[in-house]
Structure formats: structure tokens, C-alpha cells
Symmetry: C2
Subunit: 214 residues, 2 copies
């Protein structure tokens, strides 16, 4: 039996910064672990760990992600403002340490590919590199940014251009099984999560019992 | 060795709707599985499966989530416009079937709590019920909605009011270990994911090797 506690607004706002950040960051549940690659106008590549990529729609194919306030330089945001092409690359169990290392504060003139022992891969003339070590990855173009005035963050809205993935991950109905590619999740700031498939369930209808079908 | 394939924009746009939706929905990686509870002005409660909750900031404590176009009635959106209070409740391994069932199309006058055999729990006068069966859950208030003109979706921005969680999940540094509460993830439309902790890693600094510390 777990013992429930309550942390209300007064309590979490009075925590020291690091504790409040750890708490609030781990609240929303498991997050996808992606490395977003961009390129500056001087062709310096950048690789940034992003745990906030979210699905926005399939027609047109759109997704979004969050970039923190640009009160300090944000290479990904600066690059996208000059050159709106990016790639999103799933982190997998083989490259967790390298991926985590990209969140260290490198200079804008340094490429995280080089510093973190990760490999650039250019595919089909897309003007931003993919991450070779990533198995599920996609090319995209930024459409616009939405500024969140409440805290200075930016929601970046992107259009999907092309998907690269192992054939083995693609089911007959075109669902991707991310567990076959050993994609990982992240919780909070620094906990990595192994993903294990529990199976798929049937489409929910009123007065029909949900069935597991794989 | 996995064999990589490419699905470009022409290909995914020419897929039949259900395949394209399955593909694009499973692209961004693992998603958190949450049930969002709201209440209509007539006090009919609603419980909605949402896999798009994302962290937006810790000061002030904000999060967001996506609601699909309101070209058909969206009970959660309608409720929040009338009465902006909500709760977000992690889905855990014990309630996957019930949680999935909430995505069936029930009438606005029917409560998913009742229809899906889940239990309302009112705590500390918050004017929306929590889900009793959920272990990690939080109270919030909608601040505003952002309409995404590109596809008619709505990004809902919320302020965190109170957190309820098992004491056993809270580390000394206030990181929440969601795996102790058996929170689950979801991939695509219908694949459930068991979350297994791989451990936590040290804060990344240039020229310092990342260490696993639990």
C-alpha cells in the first residue's frame, strides 16, 4: 500500500529551485527522448536533446516541441530562425550516454556531433544532418514559433517531410513499433526508461470490452 | 542488422487515412498516458485519455496538452471553456483497459467514470474529480487555449495547483520515480508500454564523462 502525500502550490513554489525543477519536470509522465539536429547559416551543425516533442496532427503531418527561454543563447532556436530545416532522431539504448552529453553547454561554434562522438548522416539532400546511430528519425521544416508569454518558452510547430525507419518496426497497418528499434524514454531531467511493449488493444467503442490483440 | 526504409511526404500523404494516422501518431516516440478529468457547468464529470501532456516550465509551473479539432464536440474542451478546472491522472498498469475504454464515444451527458468502472475522488475542494485508481495525479487550471490554424487543433496551457503522489515515489532531490507507481506509456494509437527504469545519469558538462548514479 502506497502512502499518498500532497504538495500544493505554496509548497512547490517554496522549494529551492533545483528541487522544484526536478519535481515539476517529472510530473507529466514518461517523455520521448529525441535529438534534434539543425544547422547554422555558417553550416555548423547542432544536436540538442529534446524531451518535449509532441504529435499535433496527421493531415497535414505536424508536430511540436518546446524550447526554453532565449534569455541565454539557444542554438537550436537561432539556427531554425535562420535556416528552418531540422531532423528529429530517436535516442535508443545504445547511445544514451552520448545523447545525454549533448545537453552540456558547448559553444555555438562547436558541433555536439563531434563533441559527443555521434555521427552526421546526410540523406536525400535534406539540409540538416540525421543522426546515423538513430534508427527511427524524420526530416522536418519549422513552420512557425509560438511564444508563451507566461514564461518565455517557445513552442515550435513543424511540418513532417520524410520518415526513415527500420522495415522491421513497421506493422501492416503502418503503426511503428518503437520498442523493436530500442527507442528509450526519459522521466524528469535525468532518468532513462526502457520501453517494453505490453501489446496493442482494440479500438474502444461504447458497450464493447477492450481486447488485447498482440 | 535492421534494414532502413524511407517514407517521404508523397508516400505518407497518399496512404489511406487510417494507415497515415497510425504512422504519424507513432512517430514522435513514447507518450505519457494520462486521464484528464473535467466537469461541465451541469456537474457532469468527464474523463478523457490524453497522450500529449507536455512540460512547459517550472516557474511558474505550467504544462500543455493538445485537443483535436472541435469540428465534432469535444467534451473536455467544452467543459474547460465553461469551468477551467481539471485534474491530470497517470494511467498505471492496473487500469489500462478501463483507461483505454474512456476513448469510446460516449454522450456528453454520460460520465466516463461510470461507463468505464473508474472512481471519482474529490480532494481539498478542487472543483474537478481526481481518479482514485491513479497514483500520481495533479490539480490544474486552464490559463488559455492556443488555436493551431494549420489543422484546427487546440493547445491548452494550464497552471499546476497541487500534486498528489505516493511518498515512495519521491526521491530526496524531489524527482518523482514514475516507475514505482507503475505509470505506463503509450505509442501510436493503441500500443501500451511498460516503463522500466534504466537509472539516472549525472548532469552533463563539457569534457566530463556522463556517469550513471542509480
Amino acid at each position: 500500500m502506497l502512502s499518498m502525500i500532497c504538495i500544493d502550490k505554496n509548497k512547490f513554489n517554496s522549494l529551492e529551485d533545483r528541487k522544484r525543477i526536478s519535481l515539476i519536470n517529472s510530473l507529466t509522465g514518461v517523455k520521448s527522448a529525441n535529438l534534434i539536429s539543425t544547422q547554422s547559416k555558417d553550416k555548423v551543425t547542432n544536436l540538442s536533446f529534446v524531451s518535449s516533442v509532441f504529435h499535433l496532427g496527421a493531415s497535414p503531418a505536424l508536430f511540436g516541441f518546446v524550447i526554453r527561454p532565449d534569455s541565454v543563447p539557444r542554438d537550436t532556436l537561432n539556427n531554425l530562425r535562420e535556416h528552418p530545416y531540422l531532423t528529429v532522431n530517436h535516442v535508443n539504448t545504445n547511445i544514451i550516454e552520448n545523447a545525454h552529453q549533448t545537453s552540456a553547454r558547448y559553444k555555438a561554434v562547436e558541433s555536439e556531433f563531434d563533441k559527443c562522438k555521434l555521427t552526421e548522416e546526410y540523406i536525400n539532400d535534406h539540409p540538416a544532418p540525421f543522426l546515423k546511430e538513430s534508427k527511427i528519425k524524420f526530416a522536418a521544416k519549422m513552420i512557425r514559433e509560438i511564444n508563451i508569454e507566461e514564461n518565455g518558452t517557445h513552442i515550435i510547430i513543424c511540418e513532417l517531410l520524410a520518415i526513415h525507419l527500420p522495415e522491421e518496426c513497421l506493422a501492416e497497418d503502418f503503426t511503428i513499433d518503437i520498442t523493436i528499434a530500442k527507442s528509450v524514454g526519459v522521466s524528469g531531467l535525468d532518468q532513462y526508461i526502457n520501453l517494453e511493449s505490453l501489446g496493442r488493444v482494440s479500438y474502444a467503442k461504447p458497450d464493447k470490452i477492450v481486447k488485447w490483440f498482440t
